[in-house]
Amino acid sequence: MAVISRGFGARRRESDPRLPPGQYLTEDFPVLSAGPTPRIDLSEWRFDLRTESGEGASWSWDEFMDLPIEDVHTDIHCVTRWSKLGTSWRGVSLDTLVDAVETEASYAMAHSYGGYTTNIPLEDLLGGRAWVAFEFEGEPLDPEHGGPARLLVPHLYFWKSAKWVRGLTLMDDDEPGFWEQNGYNMHGDPWTEERYW
């Protein structure tokens, strides 16, 4: 039984069935990250994909822009409890990227400029469920929101949507990334509140 807090509730926010448990709606776009915002020049940007056998594929910004680009309309959910509904993004599907290599791997580690890492099961990245996004609401993605490009895995808590992404390493076995080593869940499904260990 939850403890009742006397007199609480006067200023409650509207609830919405599109919100996972424990989330509240925000209209602005909060920023959470562990350090300063990296600034990456497009001429230096690369996206590297490494498989479990060490094989790889790599794209420059221009090569990346030649890949099929998709529009994504989705809700996003941060582990710090804000959710944003109906956000619009453009990016390249992870299906397109992973198609470029041969792999039997089950997990991926995303690596970011600035050193951030996060682990994601490969099945959560494929099947039209994840993108490398570079536009938000019709504009190039701001550096503070992960620009020039971030991972977008909207069905998991947003710490999995690594900002300033620079590549993925595919792995046979799961390993914890940055927040996962610091107390966050290995998977991060908002609907079952996989927040912490």
């Binding site: 939850a2 409650r12 926010r13 920023v31 350090g35 260990w197």
Partner: protein
């Protein structure tokens, strides 16, 4: 680090801290203790079962069954006005934690440490200031605290008194109005003020920056510009602008 479930917490004391902020002391049975810099999730439940949860940093650290929060009211907010105005000693809420394994300070490092706070961002840094003082490491620690006006500084007295032989050296910055006799600038922390008040990059400090998102973005960017390696800057963003 295993977090565990929700724990009942009883408000034992509320202390006005600024015109818009209050310090809450909560008794939590079997509280496992925390590291300086960690936070808790606070859960409030209304009579009809409606719930809201927000994160609040701990101003306290270490063992003991009383924890301390410092909450600043966001005027249009749902939770902070309740915590700052409505809650009374004896009232109950729930906490989960301690949370966060990264934005923490523990004694033992050799590098000097720099704390930089904006507004209520001082709360986890206060826990670190207290921990550094208790550990005898205050001489290598500095705090730069930016508030709108002097009266908006949470922990103002404790920070002003502490700056003796034993305490952490504190520098103040004011964005709207300074105290009488202040000969410094008034306004957003600029590169020059940061250069003056912060350990220089040559002494390789580890820097902790905490406050509203806009403040943290601005300060962290400036630190990088001044030559501090990004890997030595740890940030905690409280949300908002």
């Amino acid at each position: 680090m295993t977090v565990g479930g929700w724990r009942p917490a009883r408000v034992v004391e509320t202390v006005p801290a600024t015109p818009s902020a209050r310090i809450l002391r909560l008794a939590v049975a079997d509280w496992p203790g925390s590291l300086a810099g960690q936070h808790v999730d606070v859960r409030l439940t209304a009579e009809d079962g409606y719930q809201a949860v927000r994160s609040y940093s701990l101003g306290s650290y270490g063992s003991g069954e009383t924890i301390e929060l410092g909450v600043d009211e966001i005027p249009d907010g749902e939770v902070s006005p309740y915590l700052v105005r409505d809650v009374l000693p004896g009232d109950e809420l729930e906490v989960k934690g301690p949370l966060g394994g990264y934005f923490v300070w523990q004694p033992g490092g050799v590098a000097p440490v720099q704390f930089i706070a904006g507004g209520s961002g001082v709360v986890p840094l206060m826990a670190m200031v207290r921990a550094a003082t208790d550990a005898g490491a205050a001489a290598s620690a500095r705090l730069l605290y930016s508030t709108r006006r002097p009266e908006n500084a949470i922990y103002r007295e404790e920070l002003s008194d502490g700056a003796g032989d034993r305490g952490v050296a504190v520098s103040w910055a004011y964005t709207r109005a300074a105290p009488a006799g202040w000969d410094g600038q008034v306004g957003r922390l600029d590169d020059e003020r940061l250069r003056e008040a912060v350990w220089p990059p040559s002494s390789a400090p580890i820097v902790y920056v905490c406050g509203p998102t806009g403040f943290v973005e601005h300060v962290a960017d400036a630190l990088v510009r001044l030559g501090h390696p990004p890997a030595r800057i740890r940030t905690e963003r409280f949300g908002g602008a």
